[in-house]
Each structure stands twice: as C-alpha cells, then as structure tokens.
Symmetry: C2
Subunit: 430 residues, 2 copies
C-alpha cells in the first residue's frame, strides 16, 4: 500500500462516511499517522440520495472528494480499496491493494441494505444506499415510463407505473413524497400520451405507524402529508416475496409492479475477522463499550452505524443516522489522543439533536427535544440543516440553486438516463 | 411505437442534438406531427464534455431532458430508441422498439469518433463524444493516480501519470489545457506523496499546426498558452498504433502511457439503409443539396455533422460544429413548412459566427469575421457564449456557480469516481 513508516502510531480508519470524516478531522493536527480507506474516493451525503433518484439533484453535488477533506493534514493518507479482512491477532488488515498493519483500527464502515436473508427480494428489489444505486433507480423510473408508452397491455402499463416502496422510515417516506411530486409536476407534461392519473405510489410499512423513530404527532402528520400528495400508505403490511412482478404480503394484499424499492432495513456493514459473537443479534452491528472500543480486540474501535453501543435507554444502540456517527467520531478522536497521552478516556454521551423528515414542498416534520413542529417551518428548517451539513461550499451552492429552481418551477431537471439500468429479466415475459 | 395516426404529415427526426432540437423548435406550432427519436433521453451539450472529464462540471448540468424541450408542443412525440435502419422505398424506419412510417425523415444523428479503421486504437483508446464516455475518462484519470501511489516501479508510475491526447482540434486543446490546470491546482494537494512534476500532458497533432480550423494567429497563441501551462505539443506527429502501453508514431517518437485519448477525428454517424454512394468518401457524411435534401431519396433530409453540403468554398461541407447544425435545423424547419405549402424552398446560407477555443483560465482564442482576439477577453466571451447556448436556466445557473467556484479556488470538485472504469486489460502485466 506504500504507506511510509512513521514514528507516530498508525490509526487506520475504514470508511469515509460521517463518522470516519469527523474522526479524521479531530485527529488532523495530532501526532499520529492516519490512513483512511474507502471503496469510493468520495464521501456520500446519504440523506439526499432520494433526491438523486428522483431527478431533483445531481449526484456530484452530494458527493465530496475525500482527498480534499484530508489535503491540509500532515501524515494523512487516503487509499481507495476494499477492506477484505481484519486480522486482530496480527494487528493488520487485508485489502484489495495489500495488507497494512495498524496500532489502532477504527471500523466506520456504516450500514448496508438488510434483505433479512430473502434472496429473491435481494435479486429483484432496488436499493438506495449508494450513489450508483440511486442513479440506477433514477434510470429505472424513467425507463419504466418510456416502456409504458410502448405497450397496449393495460396491466403491463399499470405495473410499469406502479411504484412500491417497502419501509416507512425516513428514506421510504421521503422517496414516496418525491415520487408523488414528480407525478404531479413533471410526468403529465413529459408524457402527455400516458394517463398519469394511473401512476400509483404505495408505501408499505410492517409496523402500525410510519417514521417509527419519531413522535406520534410527526408520524401522523407525515402520513397525512403523504395522503394529501396521493401516496397510498399501507401499515401493518409485511412483504413476504417479490419475483420482479408481484409483491406478496402477509395479508391477502398483493401489488403488480415492475419496481419495488427496498428501504425496509439496514444492517451493520461488518468485516470478516470480527467474530460473530461480537455482533448484536440480527443487526450485524459490532458491540462496543462506551468508549467505542470493541472489547474483545484491544486497539480496535467501531463508530457510527456499524457500532452498537447498548445502554439502558437504547438497548439496540443509537439510531443508525448521521448524528450519532459524527458525535462518536469526534469523541473517539479526542479519546485516541487521551489514550496516547495516557489520560483517562471520556465515555460517549449522545446529544440527541432531534430528527426530521421531509415529505414534499412545504411539508416536513421535525422533532427536537423541546419542540415538535410540522409543515412549512419544519420544511425550511430541514432544508437549512441539510445545506449546513453538506460538505463544501460548491456543493451547498449547487444544491441551493437546484432547490430554488425546483421550488419555483415545480420541476426536476435531472431526469436523465445517463447510464441505462438494464434489468437482467423481463417483468412481463416468462 | 404507439404513435397515433394524424391527419398532419409525419416528420421523423432522428437525433436530439443541436440540429434536431433547433428543427423541432421551428416546427413547434405547425400543422405537422413530429416524432423525435434519440438513444438518450437528453440533449448533450458536447462542447463542455471535456470539463466533465476533468472534474470541473457535473454531467447533469450539460444534459437537458429532450421531453422538456418538447413539452409544450402539440403533436410532438419523443421515443427513446436506437434507429437500426432506414427503408427509403417503404418510407419507414426500423428501430429497437418497432417500425414507423414517415412522410419526411430528417437524419440528425451527428457524428461519432473516427478511428480510421484502426481496431487496436479503437480498443485501447478513450473517446469523449458522449457523457458516459466522458465519465469513463474522468474515472480513469483519477484511478490512474490512485494506482500510481501503489507502485514502486518508476516506469509504471510514469506511464500512469503520462497523458497522451491525440488530435489538436478544439477538443484535444481544451482537454489538454484542463488537465494542465488540474496538474497545477488539484493534484499536488490531493497526492502529496506523488511527484506531480512528473505528470506529463502530451498533445499530438498530425498536421503542422493545432486548431487547423482557426486563424494562424489563434493557432499560434493557443500553442503558446499550452506551452505556458506545461503541455507538450507535438506537431507533424501522426499516431500509428497503441496497444494499451505504447503509443507509436510515424517518427521515432513513442510514448509509454496508460491513457491515450483519441480526439483525432470524427465521422458522420450514418444509418444503415443510406447507400454508400450517398456518402462523402472517408467521412461517412451524407451528401445533401443546398436544401439539406438527400437527393437520391425523396423525403429524406440530413442536417448537422452527419450532413455534407458541398460548395465551392467548402468542398468537404460545413465544419462539424454546433453552429452549422443549428442553422441548418432552423432553415430546414422553415423549408418543411414551405414544402407543405407548395412554396419554393430557401437554400441554406451558413452564417459563420466564428469559432473559439479555451485553453485555461484567462486563456482563450477567438476568431470572428472582423476580429481575432486572444487572452482574458476571449476567455470571458467564450464563457458567456457557452452559458448562452446551454439549454435551460438551471443548467446555466449550476454551470455558472461551478465556474465561479473553480475560478476563485483554482479547484475542480467533481473529481469523483462514481462508476469505476474497469479496463479489461492491464497496462503493465502481459
């Protein structure tokens, strides 16, 4: 990997997400050598992926070059690689570009889509956790309408214009809302020869409310917003199978659709070499103590989505969102310095800054510690919070231009099939 | 294809480039049915592709949804398809989504990279005529530097950091200049552990001057600008082969490089069914008369790059650029209406608005009928002309934000490998 030896201890960070970047920034001027490894050369601002999928934003403006984050830090190295295995005994990692030893290892690999072992769903469903996946979904949505024009079979056309989104968390809610806005603002003009009223957007949720992580009030209001926009919300509806044509559920309900988006769960993106007994059952998150240490492996830490710090009020760990990852990254950065100075470590304290979700223009819900609010004000707050947390002035400016334009013109101009998404099956022919 | 029958005559336009779009706009309120077919669902602003390749712009902001151009035009249909063959006798076209008959057919398919029959170069060289190709080049450039970090073999590293651009037309000149600016502004910060001074940018031109379509003064000044930026300009240097490792030329000169960009020629993107004797020898452009009619086939027209309208002062047709295409599109739009009204047609008169090329910040050359100018003023003119011809307010705003940012910060933030470009060969292992 061509990382020079240094007299400073070497900290390897796997993953340039919210946690990894926050940690790197904390270590920027310390007497350590830092090697950050990611399989992409950019940081992804995941909360806005759904806007890439629905043509509202360009992918490049929610991505930020990791090398640019690190460029002014001495003793920092970035490597574009897949980490294949951790060898905790040998204190080294195996990657697609060779092995590297560490003094401290921080696993900040985030999360990946959880299909709960259902291979069929994994094969046919669309996921939306990375920029390439979001672009595939964008292409598929547009391709569906192009294809719908060509068929005279009513059931085929309906299936192409029927969107089933599984999972009523923020991702599912935001995607459903964005699709509903395209249905209203863009599709009737783009496809005057299709009956766009027949476009269906279905949001399926296994539990009895959407946005289960938020307040009852927010959940109910988000549902109202979705219904206003024409989204069909199906609660207590658990999907059992999807063969590329029919979504089956635990009840009698089925959906004939060419597009099912799976936003029903994530799991920690753990790494080979971390023993299964260190993982929280089901979720694949690595159990850590209050210092983010993986206790079975001295010198190994985990932060963010992949880490599970259990506590009495959070028996399954912190929510898998940007805030806990960033805060853990910062705290660990300070703790690593304390460790090197032989000072006592500071336990992680999560400061809940609240959560929010947006459904559509002027329609958002927000819960903070002291206030819960919905509607136009929440929507403005949502926008400014997201602009604030985007990395880079250029990204902010470009996203802002797009938002202003989309808002004024009821439009989404990035409805471009740059790379076609080629299904390896036909949803209609046997 | 599900295009309804209409009492109006049907005009099929193949291609949504500068010519096809200009033609469609002219026909917008006429008593005709127009079917526009393109293999992409967007119009590409080709003059800025090199900025996508070099991380200066996002691909989405130089693309514009074709459906959006047509949305207010009654009797207009867009279909996303490949046109496979023209059947002039049957007055129909065969496409990937079925056949369609026409009353008038306009071939506006533009041009494609001309490898002059050299299959080896076609296999190993990078082209830059479409957005996906430009993104592949962007990925490859960045991947080269990531790979250069990993090798200790000096010749491998040098080959990865050696860029050979073949063709001294505007595309080659602009790409070479942009690479030189990245070398100066971005690479030393991103790759402090590489000796960026060893990065080589070579521009190879077969003839004895670069920008042969422009004035002597512009050509010379562009060459000076390139040399100032550290680009090596090799004139009278004709490439004979490239095997993925070594560029050989007609002289003794060879280049060891992992990246050769081929910008040495284009040819008309003609269609099966148009007889070879209708094509200009060598260039694959379809010969048309002064009304853009393909005389051998009544009812078939060709405009833009694919059309060759020979005249005494332009024996090989108009330059293959946006301006002739747009002007021909407009003129043909008017002529089609005249045709339907049994009025005499108006011959095409090319109004040369001049040409320009940009080399780098504050460095451009421009030739107009009355003035030839170079430097800062030409650069500003270049920018405003390009902003003006971009379609769409959002695209203009986003491109403008990027340019201002890039100018002030000497930066290119879209240096993202969204989709890796996977070579199917290794430039170093046999």
């Amino acid at each position: 990997m061509n990382i020079p030896k240094s007299s400073f201890p070497r900290i390897i960070i796997i993953g340039g997400g919210f946690g990894g970047i926050a940690l790197a920034q904390k270590l920027s001027k310390k007497e350590v050598q830092v090697v950050l490894i990611d399989k992409h050369n950019y940081h992804t601002f995941q909360p806005l992926l759904y806007q890439v999928s629905t043509g509202g934003l360009e992918p490049d403006s929610i991505a930020y070059p990791i090398r640019k984050v690190l460029k002014d830090y001495p003793n920092f190295y970035f490597r574009l690689a897949n980490v294949e295995e951790v060898n905790a005994n040998g204190k080294l990692i195996k990657t697609s570009i060779g092995n590297l030893s560490y003094d401290y290892l921080v696993i900040a690999t985030g999360s990946e889509t959880n299909f709960f072992g259902n291979k069929e769903i994994e094969q046919y469903a669309m996921a939306m956790k990375t920029i390439p996946q979001s672009l595939n979904l964008r292409s598929l949505i547009l391709e569906n309408f192009e294809q719908a024009l060509l068929t005279d079979e009513m059931h085929e056309r309906d299936a192409l214009m029927n969107f089933v989104i599984v999972g009523g968390g923020p991702t599912g809610v935001e995607l459903a809302g964005a699709l509903a806005e395209i249905k209203k603002g863009v599709l009737p003009k783009d496809y005057p020869d299709l009956d766009i009223r027949r476009v269906q957007i279905n949001l399926l949720q296994g539990g009895d409310c959407i946005l289960p992580g938020m307040s009852k009030k927010a959940s109910q209001k988000a549902e109202d917003f979705l219904e206003e926009l024409g989204v069909h919300v199906w609660k207590n509806t658990r999907v059992t199978s999807y063969d590329g044509k029919i979504v089956a559920t635990k009840t009698d309900l089925t959906f004939s659709t060419a597009t099912m988006v799976w936003a029903a769960g994530v799991k920690g993106a753990t790494i080979k070499g971390i023993d299964a007994k260190e993982l929280l059952a089901g979720g694949k998150r690595i159990c850590v103590n209050q210092y983010n240490q993986v206790e079975a492996y001295p010198g190994i830490f985990a932060i963010g989505d992949v880490a599970c710090m259990q506590s009495d009020d959070m028996p399954r760990g912190h929510p898998m969102m940007a805030q806990p990852a960033m805060q853990q990254g910062k705290n660990l950065g300070e703790n690593l310095v304390r460790l090197l100075e032989n000072k006592p470590l500071k336990p992680f304290k999560y400061k809940d800054k609240g959560s929010m979700a947006t459904v559509g223009r002027n329609k958002a819900v927000a819960d903070t510690k002291n206030f819960k609010f919905q509607g136009v004000f929440a929507w403005f707050v949502w926008m400014f919070v997201h602009l604030f947390f985007l990395i880079g002035f250029r990204n902010r400016a470009v996203v802002f231009v797009n938002w202003v334009y989309n808002y004024i013109r009821f439009d989404r101009e990035a409805r471009l099939i740059i790379r076609p998404y080629n299904r390896d099956y036909s949803p209609f022919k046997d």
